[in-house]
């Protein structure tokens, strides 16, 4: 069965420090992986995705994510956190295999707090 795990409910980091938000997945075929951010009282915004090619994917607002097939992970990273990065972050996966199951599977979210 397909699944996504975000093992940390909350991540706290000081402004200016690097941040990592973890995501691991399980799919039967090759994955398509996505990260979204949700600011308070807002809808979800797409940050970045991994489809194929380079394992390091760069996205919006200086975020990047590294696809690691052997560890089935797709951790979100940023070299220097900003207070404005404080938000809820969601990881999602879709199986790339042919067939009818195109549904996106979501993690439960990680709340990131960047302290000034």
């Amino acid at each position: 069965a397909q699944s996504v795990a975000q093992p940390e409910d909350q991540v706290n980091v000081a402004e200016g420090n690097p941040l990592t938000v973890k995501c691991t997945y399980s799919v039967s075929g090759n994955p398509y992986l996505f990260w979204y951010v949700q600011y308070p009282n807002r809808g979800l915004q797409f940050l970045l995705k991994y489809i194929t090619g380079d394992n390091l994917v760069k996205g919006s607002y200086g975020f990047e994510a590294e696809f690691n097939k052997s560890q089935t992970s797709f951790h979100l990273k940023k070299p220097s956190a900003l207070v404005s990065d404080s938000a809820l972050y969601f990881c999602a996966v879709r199986d790339s295999s042919p067939g009818n199951n195109r549904k996106l599977i979501w993690g439960l979210g990680t709340s990131l707090a960047v302290n000034p």
């Binding site: 809808g43 797409f46 489809i51 439960l108």
Partner: protein
């Protein structure tokens, strides 16, 4: 349209009443999702439509919840005999037929049952 549109943006209803929430997906998007999000929580999957395939209703929490979609257009989520625990933000998202494209979310409908 330019993005996913949901209406109403806010809905306050009395316990026991029925409510209908509407989602207008991006034109041409064959996939449509409904999610429920309680305050500060993650996304709770409700239902998934993909083209003309039978919808995946596995997330609907009870038979009070139902959703319809005609073709690749508007979807409505109906909650009958609302209960206070139904209070949440209901999010709709759509995506294209191509598997490697991201989903786009509406701003949600905040439902409050009093």
């Amino acid at each position: 349209g330019a993005g996913v549109s949901q209406s109403p943006s806010n809905k306050v209803t009395e316990k026991g009443k029925d409510v209908e929430l509407r989602c207008d997906p991006i034109s041409g998007h064959t996939a449509l999702y409904w999610y429920r999000q309680r305050l500060g929580q993650g996304l709770e999957f409700l239902i998934y439509f993909q083209g003309n395939s039978a919808p995946d209703k596995s997330g609907l929490p009870s038979d009070r919840f139902s959703a319809e979609r005609t073709g690749e257009s508007v979807s409505t989520l109906t909650i009958q005999r609302t209960q206070q625990e139904d209070s949440a933000v209901y999010l709709c998202a759509s995506s294209s037929f191509v598997r490697n494209t991201e989903a786009f979310f509406g701003q949600g409908t905040r439902l409050t049952v009093v």
